[in-house]
Amino acid sequence: MSTIAAPAAPARRSLYTPYRMRIAKVTDEAPAVKTFRLEFVDPADAAAFDFKAGQFGEYSVYGEGESTFCIASPPTRKGYIECTFRQVGRVTSALADRDEGDIIGFRGPYGNIFPIEQWHGKNLLFIAGGIALPPMRCVIWNCLDLRDRYKDVTIVYGARTVADLVYKHELAEWDARPDVNLYTTVDPGGQTPDWKGRVGFVPTVVEQVGPSAADTIAIVCGPPIMIKLTLPVLTKLGFQPENIFTTLENRMKCGVGKCGRCNVGKLYVCKDGPVFTFAQLRDLPAEY
């Protein structure tokens, strides 16, 4: 087995060189969905690393390639990051094969952030569907960790079936908290006999819950169809597009506005996003 002779140490580190991350914990969330907790192998990396809610990174299995996911843990929890992914392609399959203790790569953080500091003193309404909870989980925990800065926190989360709900333990935790209003729902037919949550599509549940738009920021993440059907509901409830946030998941390779993949009109999702308000999206071509 050959090792690579290390070249003369470059003056700067290439942006394409990932941090070496050790998988500290693997959690099975749902069928083919896992969460990795990743710790920096090099303490210097850990010390230098900082990020904010909404950012993403490129996770890599050496020999298989890179894949883009958000950072699913909040910046308030130091010393590690978490990512949640569904096994669909070459990289995510290879990732899913990794185990605790294995080394993978991460480069980031990339992209813009949720302006949570501007949300101080406001109500927060989180609406998520399926595997789109992870990008929101980062913000939810970030805000819950700074709970006193926000007013009411309402979470509506739905999945196709009970099995497809991710972060089941945390859902229970949020449910138990008096300072969080959690509404979980599954699509009709997706419930189990002992399911205690709601049954119905997310937009319908939002309408039933009927949160007030007054002084409220809505954050919506989910499959395109869910977003499409949720927006009219929010509009009806009185939400203004500039108070509704989402994150886009366009395909990316570089993460830093070079590879040419992710742009929506003139905006790079990797640089100008992934967080957008619907007021911004309204002015963009529908290339997402």
Partner: protein, 663 residues
């Protein structure tokens, strides 16, 4: 990272003497993904297997590689051990360190190096293994038997007697087949009909057998355990339930001069007829091509005389759908006609007949009531020439094969002739006498020695008519090729056995394979002689190859026992090493583009077409689907698929690729 356990067996000294098993285990232990690697004296022993089981439990292994003997030897053993420890059996692979390494190489560092390579290759493969589960296919425990000759009758009775419903389909108006036409059978000379007709009656009366005569297979779809057959019940022109088989209609029918198929055109029948008196069922059919009513619109004499008013002139063909789990094909054979032979007069000479016609002449129920009289003038022939190998074994005629029964029945014919015409002179032209079989050689010897049949070894080059005699010209190759010329009164050609004229069409309809002579191809000539390549379809009798009655009956019973074996379980459980067509997210649904070039490559017709529809039922795409009940897992389709949309479980592209990368 996967958690692979590697277990290296010394196999006593068998591996250990040439391969450093400990070194192999050590090297394996350093491979990425390997969390456990040990060597042991006898891995297949109970303690050895326990090593594996314990490691699976304790180290939470996700895959196991056993470096030992050939997987063809102990793969089942180790896979079972894994399954017992809770690891899916298909997550276990073997590296062949004995047959492919220690036994074939000297004790050299290279040999241990090779062993390490072999283990590494399997480690990389097993990382890509996925749990597989046996495929269970429900079985409809009803058999379809095609052909009501002796093969079909035997198969149907055997299956029915085992308690399973049977649908027996016969093209002609009666079951019985060619055997019903025969006079006596070799080598015992017992009466063919005497042994056959009781079985025919048994079929008719059997509670488990549904009999469709005058019927044909219209279509066959599905797969083993789950076929859907459509049977075309041709219009008989009578109501079978009402008809009592009294025969009054036949008596009165004005059209009487139709050549009788049953009598091989040597006798006549009427337009409404039963093929022969012992027919089962004994219900007539109307031959619409010859019936006066159908031709002119007037007659209906039969209706007038019918005591039960059973005639139904406007009856139409009926399509009957039956669900069956297995099919026995027993569609039999035909013999070449005399018109196939220009050198013997193209069928122009009335007194040049086929062996089958001679059977009818010799039969007590035949047109001459068993008297040997020649067709042209009804005279008793004084000299009869029998020619064996008429067509058979003759590449010039396009028939390379031996028809197998001609030697025997020619001897029988000569003998029967001699028994009936004591002063007659029988001659037999032959190429070789093939009399392999119990009492067969003795039978031929009896013909030659006791009945003084003159056997002449040689081919007949020509037959022509001269002064009311048939001049048979040939050579005697045992007498320096001396020309022989015999003035005969009757010539009997042992014409070649060939498949039914529509054998090819039927095979295509059933998607079963056939050879260049249009005989059906068994799955394996030695080991699977009664199975077709298409699972669930079996073969019996002369539709597969020329054979005599005992062989036919034996094969029919063999096919029946295969069917009974299949029906002995409610579900068919199969190894999951089968091909699968991928499915992906919409809008692609599958990377398969539906070119279906794999369809013809599949030796088992396991590729089906699946329509992917939207909510409104509009077809969005047609893609291939592998019928897992039928697929045998050869992987020919996988190699053929350009877009890599089909993969073979257990030997997936990823697995094989990983093996190569690991080399």
């Amino acid at each position: 990272m996967p958690r692979i356990g590697v277990f290296i067996c010394h196999c006593g000294e068998n591996i250990g003497a040439t391969v450093d098993a400990a070194a192999v285990a050590k090297a394996a232990g350093e491979l990425p993904g390997v969390v456990h690697a040990v060597d042991y004296k006898y891995m297949c022993s109970d303690p050895g297997q326990n090593l594996i089981k314990e490691a699976i439990r304790e180290k939470k292994l996700t895959g196991v590689v056993v470096g030992a003997c050939s997987p063809r030897m102990h793969e089942p053993t180790f896979r079972r051990a894994c399954a017992e420890a809770g690891l899916n059996a298909f997550l276990c692979e073997m590296a062949n360190l004995r047959e492919h390494c220690s036994w074939v190489h000297e004790k050299l560092p290279e040999t241990t190096e090779k062993a390490i390579d072999l283990v590494r290759v399997m480690v990389e493969k097993v990382k890509r293994n996925r749990p597989l589960f046996p495929i269970n296919v429900p079985i409809t425990k009803t058999a379809l038997v095609l052909g009501g000759g002796i093969a079909g009758i035997q198969a149907a009775l055997d299956i029915a007697n085992a308690g399973h419903p049977v649908v027996l389909v016969e093209r002609e108006a009666s079951i019985g087949g060619h055997m019903a036409q025969l006079s006596e059978t070799f080598p015992t000379l017992d009466c063919s009909q005497c042994i056959l007709t009781p079985r025919m009656v048994e079929v008719a009366q059997h509670p488990n057998i549904r009999l469709y005569t005058y019927s044909e297979l219209e279509s066959l779809e599905g797969f083993i355990g789950n076929f859907k057959a459509v049977i075309r019940k041709k219009a008989r022109g009578i109501d079978e339930a009402t008809c009592t088989g009294c025969g009054a209609c036949i008596q009165k029918c004005p059209t009487k001069k139709i050549p009788s198929e049953f009598n091989a055109h040597l006798g006549h029948r009427t337009a409404i007829y039963v093929p022969f008196p012992q027919a089962v069922p004994n219900k007539p059919v109307i031959d619409r091509a010859h019936c006066t009513y159908y031709r002119t619109g007037k007659c209906k004499l039969c209706e007038r005389v019918c005591p039960t008013k059973a005639l139904r002139y406007d009856q139409e063909d009926l399509l009957v759908e039956v669900a069956v789990g297995a099919v026995v094909v027993a569609t039999g054979y035909e013999v070449k006609g005399t018109d196939f032979f220009p050198e013997y007069g193209y069928g122009r000479y009335k007194d040049v007949i086929t062996g089958l016609q001679f059977e009818r002449l010799a039969s007590a129920s035949g047109p001459t009531l068993g008297a040997i009289r020649r067709p042209s003038d009804g005279q008793v022939p004084e000299t009869v020439v029998f020619i064996a190998c008429a067509g058979s074994r003759d590449p010039a005629k396009g028939l390379h094969y031996c028809s197998k029964i001609c030697c025997m029945y020619t001897a029988k014919h000569a003998m029967l002739y001699k028994h009936k015409v004591h002063h007659g002179r029988p001659y037999v032209f032959y190429m070789d006498i093939r009399a392999g079989g119990k009492m067969y050689e003795e039978f031929v010897r009896r013909a030659i020695e006791e009945d003084q049949v003159s056997y002449i070894r040689g081919r007949v080059s020509r037959i022509y008519e001269k002064n009311g005699k048939l001049i048979v010209k040939g050579v005697d190759t045992l007498l320096n090729s001396r020309p022989v010329e015999i003035a005969a009164d009757l010539v009997v050609l042992a014409t070649a056995m060939v498949p039914q004229p529509d054998a090819e069409a039927l095979a295509q309809k059933m998607k079963i394979s056939y050879d260049g002579d249009r005989f059906l191809n068994e799955a394996h000539p030695k080991l699977r002689p009664v199975e077709m390549n298409t699972a669930g379809i079996f073969v019996a009798g002369a539709c597969q190859a020329p054979k005599d009655i005992p062989e036919t009956v034996a094969q029919a019973s063999g096919a029946a026992s295969k069917v009974i074996g299949l029906f002995s379980k409610d579900e068919l459980s199969r190894e999951p090493v089968v091909a699968v067509v991928n499915r992906t997210a919409p809008p692609l649904f599958s990377t398969c583009v539906g070119c279906f070039l794999c369809e013809t490559a599949c030796p088992y017709q396991a590729i089906e077409r699946e329509e992917i529809k939207d909510r409104n039922g509009n077809v969005l795409k047609t893609v291939a689907r592998v019928n897992q009940g039928v697929c045998q897992g050869c992987g020919t389709c996988v190699a053929l698929c350009r877009s890599k949309s089909i993969d073979l479980q257990g030997f997936t592209n990823e697995q094989v690729f990983a093996e190569l990368v690991a080399l």
